[in-house]
């Protein structure tokens, strides 16, 4: 009985979600959306997000550590306990001497990745941004090709949402519909325009195309186009195609390129949307590490830091780990080359691990919010918080482990069997080792 009641409640919540909060079909883009362009440099949503993470960290640290006291309290206590905990971790792995060298970098990596991942779960992410007007963009594509007298050389797929105008602000309401349009390869702009007129009429009015056969070949039926055009003209809220001749009469100084419709024989020079627009939201903020450029930047810096520490500790002897005299030991020469390769592969595995986890998490949230608007995404949000933490730990710990590996002397000939190539040389390690031995004796 209880189970049935529970099931009914869950179903009711899910159903309410679909009615109240169903979102438009998610649009997934892998590169960061360009928010601004400063000179030649595009500022992407992911870059904005990493700046936001930096701002949170810098301002947070600044305000929490203002008026530092010897005996910390409140916010200062909070920050100090975090730093102390992290430092303890690093010291345990790297040893006291190395920890002082590694900690600033490793700790920064950890905090930066953690904050960037966690603020990405706040509601301002992926929801506020420019609306990119696809309704006009599709028409512009046709105008450009028609002007050059060319056909479309590539297939183009457009997906956009119905966006309402709410006092100058575009708003995608719950239950907003998705507009899809595809430009075929080798299609004439005039034919594409015909299909576009039909698609717009289908989307905005209750117009239904009559002819089925012609539709399949990628051409709109002329009768349908005429009916669709009439339907668009009749509805005051539907988009209006502006006749090129009318436009010329209005006396604009700029010249407008027209696209001539095959079926109607009218040349249109512009398209206006008096009511709802067809647009996509290009968010200001998207999870910083859901773009490969950002994770790659971190990975390259991590790689450079590791190599720098290696050279700093061992001088040019560091290269001796990779380049071994083949006359001495040809197998080790080969192994050394492979190790050199694996140093570089780390850059890629570092960047792809973080990117893959965060991007997949974002997509999962997006899709799940689309499929089941209520409740279910909550659990995934919890999971994403965990993933964000784990990825921050993994990135910084691996950086630390590799750094420890880079600064220690290569075991070479005199390494003990069963203890690896001197991986225990860190002082902290030695301490643990002693403790463990002590534990054995105590048993």
């Amino acid at each position: 009985m209880k189970i049935i009641l529970f099931a009914v409640v869950v179903l009711a919540v899910l159903a309410t979600g679909f009615i109240v909060a169903a979102g438009p079909e998610p649009h997934i883009v892998i590169p960061g959306e360009v928010v601004w362009k400063v000179g030649f440099m595009p500022i992407t949503s992911t870059l904005m997000a990493s700046w936001l993470a930096m701002a949170v960290l810098i301002l947070g640290t600044f305000f929490m550590t203002r008026g530092m006291k010897l005996i910390p309290s409140g916010a200062q206590n909070f920050i100090e306990s975090i730093i102390e905990f992290l430092y303890g971790q690093v010291e345990e792995i790297a040893g006291e001497k190395n920890a002082r060298r590694f900690f600033p970098v490793v700790g920064t990596f950890f905090l930066f990745i953690l904050v960037a991942n966690w603020i990405a779960l706040t509601p301002i992410f992926k929801s506020i941004g420019w609306t990119k007007d696809y309704g006009h963009e599709i028409f512009h594509e046709m105008q450009e090709k028609a002007e050059k007298g060319k056909v479309f050389d590539k297939k183009k797929h457009f997906l956009a949402w119905q966006v309402e105008d709410a006092g100058g602000v575009g708003l995608t309401q719950p239950g907003a519909r998705t507009f899809k349009f595809e430009i075929h390869e080798g299609e004439d702009p005039a034919d594409a325009l015909d299909r576009y007129i039909v698609a717009l009429a289908e989307f905005y009015t209750d117009f239904k195309p009559q002819a089925d056969g012609a539709h399949g070949e990628g051409h709109a039926d002329p009768a349908d186009v005429e009916a669709a055009f009439a339907a668009l003209q009749a509805d005051p809220k539907a988009p209006k195609f502006i006749n090129a001749d009318d436009h010329a009469h209005e006396g604009g100084a700029e010249k407008h390129h027209g696209v001539t419709s095959h079926a109607l024989g009218i040349t249109f020079s512009a398209l206006e949307f008096p009511g709802d627009k067809i647009a996509l939201v290009y968010p200001f903020f998207r999870a910083a590490f859901s773009e490969l450029n950002n994770t790659l930047a971190l990975a390259i810096f991590a790689f450079l830091a590791i190599e720098f520490w290696g050279f700093q500790s061992l001088g040019f002897g560091y290269l001796g780990k990779f380049f071994i005299n083949p006359l001495k030991n040809p197998i080790l020469t080969f192994v050394g080359i492979l190790e050199l390769l694996s140093e570089f592969i780390r850059i890629i595995s570092f960047s792809f691990r973080l990117f893959g986890n965060i991007f997949a998490g974002g997509v999962l949230l997006l899709i799940l919010t689309f499929l089941v608007p209520f409740l279910a995404p909550l659990g995934i949000y919890g999971l994403e918080m965990f993933v964000g933490l784990i990825q921050a730990i993994v990135f910084s710990l691996l950086l630390l482990v590799f750094a420890v590996g880079a600064v220690e002397h290569h075991g070479g000939e005199d390494h003990e069997e069963g203890h690896g190539d001197g991986h225990h040389s860190g002082e902290g390690h030695a301490d643990i080792h002693h403790l463990e031995q002590g534990a054995v004796q105590a048993h």
């Binding site: 190790e339 694996s342 595995s349 482990v401 690896g420």
Partner: protein, 75 residues
């Protein structure tokens, strides 16, 4: 207490490292094949090198872990 952190991170890292090494080997091999027209040669070389790097690099990554686990006293 926190001794699980490093093994966990190392294992997570090693998995991605294996995958990246092998995939990168294949991708570079295919690219080289396309450039030179020696169809399967470089792909095979790439697979072998990728596997070797994955094996050796992975071994180096997991060795401290394995030796540490080996050192641990039986409960």
């Amino acid at each position: 207490m926190k001794s699980w952190l490093v093994p966990a991170a190392s294992l997570l890292g090693a998995g991605w490292f294996f995958a990246t090494a092998v995939i990168l080997g294949v991708v570079v091999g295919r690219w080289a094949d396309d450039r030179t027209g020696l169809e399967p040669t470089f792909t095979l070389v790439g697979i072998v090198v990728g596997l070797a790097v994955a094996l050796i690099g992975g071994y180096r990554m997991l060795q401290p872990l394995m030796s540490r686990l080996g050192d641990e006293p039986p409960e």
